[in-house]
Symmetry: C2
Subunit: 389 residues, 2 copies
Amino acid sequence: MSVTTPRGFRAAGVAAGLKASGADVALVVNDGPDAGVAGVFTSNRVKAAPVLWTQQVVQGGVVRAVVLNSGGANACTGPAGFQDTHATAEHTAAALTSVSPRLILGAGEVAVCSTGLIGERLPMPKLLPGVRSAIRGLSRDGGPAAAEAIMTTDTRPKTTVARGSGWTVGGMAKGAGMLAPGMATMLCVLTTDAVAGPATLDDALRAATRVTFDRVDSDGCMSTNDTVLLLSSGASGIEPTPAELVAAVTAACHDLAQQLVADAEGATKQIAIDVVGAADEDDAVEVGRTVARNNLVKTALFGNDPNWGRILAAVGTTAAAFQPDGVDVAVNGVWVCRGGAAAEDRSKVDLTGRDVTIRIDLHAGTSAATIWTNDLSHAYVHENSAYSS
Amino acid sequence: MSVTTPRGFRAAGVAAGLKASGADVALVVNDGPDAGVAGVFTSNRVKAAPVLWTQQVVQGGVVRAVVLNSGGANACTGPAGFQDTHATAEHTAAALTSVSPRLILGAGEVAVCSTGLIGERLPMPKLLPGVRSAIRGLSRDGGPAAAEAIMTTDTRPKTTVARGSGWTVGGMAKGAGMLAPGMATMLCVLTTDAVAGPATLDDALRAATRVTFDRVDSDGCMSTNDTVLLLSSGASGIEPTPAELVAAVTAACHDLAQQLVADAEGATKQIAIDVVGAADEDDAVEVGRTVARNNLVKTALFGNDPNWGRILAAVGTTAAAFQPDGVDVAVNGVWVCRGGAAAEDRSKVDLTGRDVTIRIDLHAGTSAATIWTNDLSHAYVHENSAYSS
């Protein structure tokens, strides 16, 4: 149920003192025989140093190790911050090579991911010994420890597995705030023992993230550090079809994405916005995302208020194809709005549970998409007004 | 200091029982000799019935009365809701004509504005008697009473005056939430005794709103009911130059816009985001608006936290021209970020006051714009999760 479930991977998670308490450095090592990699990254133009570094590493097509830290994003840290990332990769490569002579690797085969506060340098005198400690701790069942070490405001670690025929996909993720489009704010490492080259991995990863992580919009805020990596060891000796790989990677991403929404900062509701009857998928995504980002909709749901008028007002700000008097809205199965006006009695809507489904029928076509989001609560405000202090 | 400061206007505000307490029906009458009008309206595609009605009325170029109600938006109410608006205009026209024979007017010269909860029909048996009561109460000093009657979650009425040479512009506005682009969520009536035809009024109003109300973005949520009307009576007999009129109308709109931001729902901070060094004005507005809408920036400021990393992360999601390592950010005058990285000590930033200025220098050109916004507080969440219940 983690990155070490597929054969060919070891992992570890250790406490290096980057955070006040708990583990904060994770390492995932691919023992091969293959070392394939694909990655998707934040579309934020302000990218953290580890994102800039790892994008280059992934282009090389070979990754044998991923070192991750919580306790600092290493974003907006200038050239010195980039040097820190580079030094981390070099240190990891050298230390791994010295203890695992089978693994002869250079810094260019080490991906680096960081998460935490933006704008502060990482404490390298703590991080580098942490990397050495993680190398000593590497094991075939180290996946859960690695998943714990990448947590920030997450209340629980997030791991997954999806099984193929004789091969598996494992994964871990972190992320509880700054969860938004173009990639939820998150780090995610997926592993597979399937045989698959970089191009196949890349196709599978992009197909999966497009309909999973990219459709999580917890708070509309896009991070500087989002990174999703997919590593292949080929240790199963089995080469699935591209479609089989897409299905398994999508299942793993979907499961992790749902865990992110379930654990979003301060949220009391986990909300699925199903947009149907759209002219095309882009319209459906735009409408879903716009409703997901509307603070008045989010606060209403926090207050157990099926305020469909606010939903319609949000839909009205989009460029999607629809007629204002042709939109239906259901909240938890009750069609409170038909044809753009009040329909079933809103008092029939039961919003006492944690799960909420908003269904919006645009009556403009046959396309659909679901966006997952959260409510806006007192606890969100509290957590995010106190985070850096 | 209100819509009745310019000569030629009478107004009233009365309680018709649309709200649980307080005045809720306002009337502004233009006694002429002119009856010029211009209007700007929400760009939301889901428009309330009174917006659809008043857009048509304004196209006619003549408005002799504006009837406004709080206690219900008459939005998403279908054809029946539109009939209610039409009946309100007809009733107002007939009743005004019967008591003021000088004022012979048809329904097509009566603008209607509504504000309150979306999705519910207005109680016409209360509203129409309220209109008659307002007609009986019309007076040359009724402006302040009218400003009170249009309040919803506003904690205080908002009025203004701007003086020309021998002529004035007066105004009133309401709006405390759903304040966002394309028009803050608001109703606003401006009056002037200057001599100015519809085309001149329209030019002046659009020039003014573009740099005032359109640059208020309190919570990123755009209303279905936003309406700004400018009425001219010509009673001063003085025809200002177009530039003089633009200046006075802009001053009035600016003052009212600042009052809206000052009274935004649950806000503890009034925030000016000055974007400078932009390649063009659109870039400056896009950057300012994106930062203004970022919940992580808004919650940080609520917590007195000069978290410039979140500001940079928000800037990075825009398409504006800038280099990530070329952006400077000051919070209340302290340049906490230079060249995309930490600069002056953030502990120097004093955020204890209500007013906050964020200055973002993109170093990409010479254009600038200011967006006004608020923080995201516990009180905002509370007020908006309890509003309709």
